[in-house]
Symmetry: C2
């Protein structure tokens, strides 16, 4: 994530420390997944290529530093383990999502399900979840495994709630946010909160960083919604309008349907019904949908919502003592809503 940031000179040391730490996370991740079975390791090698923004590990690491601004900046082995655990749980959800979405590409490569079939992908997702819990149980502090277990059930609950509301276009914002907080926010919040916790932070600092992560996570997902609607395939590495086709709730659409005049609302619903039934969305349809959503100010409203969540998140950090790690977290907040991928 921080690879795309413009890092001011005074933050270069903490940014370098983050880069080194993320390399340690990658190694912990790969070591944990190593298997004596070639049938397993060829799939694991493929999954390692999925590695993307490493948002959760970066948050865990920076939170551990920001919460202990009193101490010499040092990323402990426990923080690295926790960061790898969060990334592994996240990766499991990506692998299973790709099966459910029948996705062919991820991060410009072919998906596991495309290359090896749905069966291998479902079982490999299970292998990733099991490996995450196995790794987590190796920490001395058992409360972390308990919390990762709990958060994983919350995350699955969010996915089931989303599925349950599929194609219910007129859903309210409250339900949308409940899905997001559970599905995306919960694990991102846990990465930040537990990163601070295992570094020995006070409960207050850990909880504060958790709230930062929760808001950032929700803002991140709203930005994802916008990219799904507006982004182009070159930049995001996935096709446009996928969420709409799968009947998934996105903030701009919910806002649009709640604010459009009855006739326009009816037209949009007809368009959504029609798109949902086919495998492809034509450029004309995409144009019509974006035009409609824009006409009710819903693109701008989604941007404003994401920005206000990030502003709140950054404000939450205000009570922590100033530190390079805190500054880098604030920069990351801004990057979340400005990213084009």
């Amino acid at each position: 994530m921080h690879g795309i940031l413009d890092i001011p000179a005074d933050l270069a040391p903490v940014s370098d420390l983050l880069t080194e730490s993320l390399a340690r996370v990658e190694k912990r991740f790969d070591d944990q997944l190593a298997s004596d079975l070639p049938a397993v390791s060829r799939l694991v090698t493929h999954v390692e290529r999925y590695r993307g923004k490493m948002l959760r590990p970066a948050l865990a690491i920076l939170s551990s530093l920001a919460a202990r601004a009193d101490a010499k900046p040092r990323v402990t082995d426990d923080v690295i383990t926790l960061a790898a655990v969060c990334e592994m749980v996240h990766m499991a959800t990506l692998v299973h999502d790709d099966v459910l979405d029948e996705a062919d590409t991820r991060r410009r490569g072919e998906t596991l399900n495309r290359l090896y079939g749905n069966e291998a992908a479902v079982i490999l997702g299970d292998y990733l979840i099991a490996s995450a819990f196995h790794l987590c149980s190796q920490l001395d502090d058992q409360s972390v495994a308990l919390e990762i277990g709990r958060v994983s059930t919350v995350l699955c609950g969010g996915e089931l709630l989303q599925l349950h509301n599929r194609e219910r276009w007129s859903i309210d914002e409250a339900t949308y946010f409940e899905v997001l907080e559970r599905k995306t926010g919960s694990l991102i919040a846990a990465a930040a909160r537990l990163g601070a916790h295992v570094a020995g932070a006070t409960t207050d600092a850990s909880e504060r960083l958790g709230r930062f992560g929760l808001r950032l996570g929700v803002a991140f997902q709203i930005q994802d919604d916008l990219l799904d609607l507006l982004g182009d395939e070159r930049t995001v590495g996935k096709s446009v309008g996928k969420d709409v086709q799968k009947g998934k709730l996105t903030y701009p659409l919910i806002h649009h349907l709640a604010h459009a005049e009855p006739i326009l609302r009816g037209e949009t619903l007809v368009l959504l019904e029609s798109i949902g039934r086919r495998a492809e969305i034509s450029p004309d349809e995409a144009g019509q949908l974006v035009g409609a959503v824009r006409s009710t100010g819903s693109i701008a409203a989604a941007r404003a919502m994401a920005e206000s969540l990030v502003a709140e998140a950054v404000k939450t950090l205000g009570a922590l003592p100033p530190s390079p790690a805190r500054s880098l977290l604030e920069l990351m907040g801004g990057a979340v809503v400005n990213r084009a991928y």
Copy 2:
């Protein structure tokens, strides 16, 4: 499992204790899965109907008693928790297996995937795994969560190894047993070993019960192979020849292909290829396959293998002091190879 046993009068007290304890396991299981989201709880309620033989909980409970024959028979809360955890991991594999096998029925009811779709079933399986780890991390003894995490990765490895060898009919027995020990034996062994461990057994007694569980688990799976080939749908509640159609290795077939004369072997391979490509297997084909497998003595060989594994398993228990729990475990061993469901 013990519901179908003929219990001698002197074992009635331990059998009653087992029945009561299994009811506690069911309650722990249901309480752990309870969710405030209706979208989750309707699926969980459906899964609770899958409950079958409760082999893993029964082994955990009886092992905890057999390993502590010195103490007054008492099933602690920790043993109940462990038993529920093992059943939950097992249930997750059933739910995901049904998706992969495109199965329509389980235990005479419709499968989750059939009723609610593959997406709900995949996510619910994940919810079960996460809930199992969450419950497991609530035990004071952290080594249990570590072991359940490890065993779950072994189990997934076994499933991937099986998938990798699908339709490789000429596979050797060693690979077949490796799949079985990982996929089925590992969790059954863990239920027995950890049941003893959390009850405060010595390492020797725990390991011994683990070896008993491993052998019993493999024997159980060979009996499953036989039922798939010979059983009728009324009795086992699933269609005959499913394994063959999915290209899964079964002991009678591996034995047959290793022992048949070249011409018969060729005929069987042609038949297997042909069955594997279609959705249905005709009674004629089933008859031809069973006839061929029987002609090389492979049905008898599978029975003998399962019986010898159970005999070895029972022998392993010999070093434990005699107790009603040990006797009931021995009876269960016999039931595994004589069951018709």
